[in-house]
Symmetry: C2
Subunit: 473 residues, 2 copies
């Protein structure tokens, strides 16, 4: 297939792979968790202080057991999703402290905002999975907020969800609650029902919290996306090739740990490195380098036969303007087209991860739908070409009411729910609204239409009690 984006030759992939192995062998990776260090030592790794060194054989062994594709199960089995190879999922934004409103005013996010995002995800035709920490609620105690987020994820939405990898205990709470949701922890011990985001601390470090959470999640067969974010121009003053190597080292080190804990546990190759803007000193996630990296990450993951993760609807814009549309669409469409399997941050992010916007959430969601349509293969057979109808059509004015037209409208073409296709008069008579203003109304409509998915009242009670008990211990 012709593609103007760069194809990494086998020789070039080997260059990156070899440089990565050299880095893992000679420089090593720091894991700030005692159990992680013990696991590595017990499996023949050289360990100095918190620095773990890797031989090629360690990496190869891990890659042999990591699966290329897995199912993440939803409590509503119709909503379970495959992740890997041709199958991919869109997920909401992650980790934003603020809400940006339609007038460009920012405020701290609350638990009510979080719940509203859960409701939008539940009612979404295009978001495949619930996320985690779409926003950080300021009105909940920091120590226990992960319990409330997990509870909302599990009660307000019946799609697959992300886990709570804030610490070893945070991860375990998520696992316990998922066990309750599935009617018994034994039911999820061989079943992946969540995907958690394990962020590295670049360069070449896993914090104690992340390493601990990672071990518990892997032990319970819960999937993790190891995510490396290297800031070019910032601490990483080397080229894209160097960044690709550094993030590769961090990811492979993490994946090796997971496979030592539980061979075969699903792990995702994840990276969303980008550049620091030299004028402002901030990370730019609207930069085209982000999309270049996404395309290369997808290829590296395929080389290792691993599912891949990147960002999606990412932007530096601080309001839902044309820039937000440009940058988010470039990254999201690149991720989907280039073969990324787990597209985090598909919806809602503004200002380089600083805020979520409800209006942008709906617009990005429609982009997810457009991209799914764009990559849909055309049906090519005698009926779809239908020379007879082409030949008959000249001078035939009744095309709008032709029976075939009705069928095509339902099956062949994308029906937008948000994008404006009005003519100028109709648009003018409705107040010349920008799409973000139109989206504001739609957010209210969507939330009003939300219905809580059915759940066994006993399970709901058990979950709520678990959260209450944990809050008081």
């Amino acid at each position: 297939m012709y593609d103007r984006m760069q194809e990494l030759s086998a020789k070039n992939i080997k260059k990156i792979h070899d440089a990565t192995l050299a880095l893992l062998k000679n420089k090593g990776v720091s894991f700030k968790d005692e159990e992680a260090l013990d696991i590595f030592k017990a499996n023949g790794h050289k360990v100095e202080g918190t620095i773990v060194f890797f031989k090629e054989s360690h990496i190869q062994k891990a890659l042999k057991t990591a699966p290329g594709r897995f199912t993440v199960h939803a409590r509503n089995p119709e909503k379970s999703m495959m992740v890997g190879e041709d199958d991919f999922v869109f997920l909401p934004g992650y980790g934003a402290p603020f809400i940006m409103d339609v007038n460009g005013k920012q405020r701290r996010a609350t638990m009510e905002d979080y719940d509203n995002f859960c409701k939008l995800i539940q009612t979404s035709a295009y978001i495949d999975m619930n996320g985690w920490m779409m926003v950080e609620p300021v009105d909940m105690p920091h120590e226990t907020v992960h319990l409330d987020l997990n509870l909302s994820n599990m009660l307000l939405c019946d799609k697959p969800f992300m886990g709570s990898p804030i610490s070893r205990q945070g991860a375990l709470d998520g696992i316990e609650m998922a066990g309750i949701l599935w009617g018994g922890k034994e039911k999820i011990m061989d079943k992946t029902v969540s995907v958690s985001l394990i962020k590295t601390q670049s360069p070449l470090t896993f914090s104690g919290e992340m390493a601990g959470a990672f071990i518990e999640l892997a032990r319970h067969n819960q999937a993790c996306a190891v995510a490396s974010l290297v800031m070019a121009n910032g601490f990483a003053n080397f080229s894209l090739a160097g960044i690709l190597t550094l993030q590769n080292a961090e990811i492979l080190a993490g994946i090796t740990l997971a496979q030592l804990v539980r061979p075969g546990v699903p792990v995702i190759y994840g990276a969303t490195s980008s550049v620091m803007d030299m004028k402002t000193g901030t990370l730019s996630i609207g930069a085209p380098e982000l999309s270049r990296n996404i395309h290369l990450v997808a290829q590296m993951a395929r080389f290792y036969n691993l599912p891949s993760r990147s960002g999606g609807g990412l932007t530096d814009a601080l309001c839902v303007d044309a820039q937000a549309g440009v940058e988010s669409t470039l990254a999201l469409s690149t991720a989907a087209r280039s073969g990324i399997n787990f597209i985090l941050h598909s919806c809602g992010i503004l200002g380089s991860y600083m805020a979520m916007s409800f209006e942008k959430f709906l617009i990005d969601e429609e982009v997810c739908g457009m991209v799914r349509n764009m990559i849909r293969p055309m049906v090519l057979n005698d009926d779809s070409i239908d020379l007879g109808r082409i030949k008959a059509m000249c001078g035939n004015d009744a095309y709008l009411t032709h029976p075939k037209a009705f069928q095509l409208r339902r099956t062949e073409f994308f029906a937008p729910s948000l994008m404006n296709r009005k003519n100028p008069d109709a648009w003018g008579s409705q107040g010349r609204q920008r799409i973000d203003q139109i989206a504001e109304d739609k957010v209210a409509q969507r939330l009003a239409s939300y219905e809580k998915p059915d759940i066994d009242p006993k399970i709901e009670k058990q979950l709520t009690e678990y959260v209450e008990n944990r809050k008081h211990t």
Copy 2:
């Protein structure tokens, strides 16, 4: 190369090709120009009334002489461009009657607007060619406006330009003026200095004006893009496969005419078919089907070894909002990535071709720069990976002033001129401006910085006199 967009197998391309040949043989194509009919008759085509029928051998012969790649020469030789294979050009919007201002008010375009677009193109780092009829000036007489547009194109900008294919005489005026610009018509007889857009009248018709212009342009070795726009859901109530076949028939018929007039004249395979929106009855150029078609058109053109043309920054949005950013970026990046060579409408279009926006022009232009950057291959060698620097970087806080950092900032990473990467405080203190509001200021700055390119005063006088004389005959 892995790509989630559809790859047409050789078998599927043959299906479309065979259906096209059947259509050309049995249904034929109408050319409403006497000379065109005479040329076809003289070359052994069956002709009934205005309908011309094509045998496979006619098509094959034309495809043998049409070049896969050509140079379009600029009067400033440094700005000449290659079109075909890996080489591609970005061009401005085409044919809009209105200007949409930053407040969403539309007005008829004027000659001053046209000239201002020529100035933005001349000062653009990313627009490779001047267009034609970027807007239709309401303040100039309809009969002679093409002369004024050609004059502005040639005097205000020294990049390659598009020709004036409004009629046989309109095309000839453009050719005469280009002859003057190059210091004598004989100097351009074997040199392509313009590309003109020959639009079909779907289904299966070339108007008299278009066919006449096409013949004159081909005779003078000027390149033409044959452009078929089939409106799915509208008169064409068949699937995407049928649309691909119908547009293929129109384009191949046109290319055959050009190669009969002058074997070897450059022709471009062009199509921007899309769907009619069923709620509003208007053509949607923001639809994902447009991008699906672009990707398929690029593959059909490569099958025939022809340069390809599509649209770029296309949207249905009526103001420069997030929708405008989403839709334009999806189509533009698809065109560039999928291998289109002549990307018309890269900048400025709003409202399904209804208006041009100066602000959107600058935003789209920046997207062109981002896309050029995104597809740039990463340099992969020992220096670009630079393990030594990666190993040394931990704990090194002086990265911002490291000599390598300065070099990378200049060579490796994209420097935006418009996109906002400010933090919320800096953005707030500057009035929380949307990108279209920021662009409004930049338009004025760019126009103020414009300098008319040097031209021999004798040639300028001859060109001006040609236009004056033609206006009075």
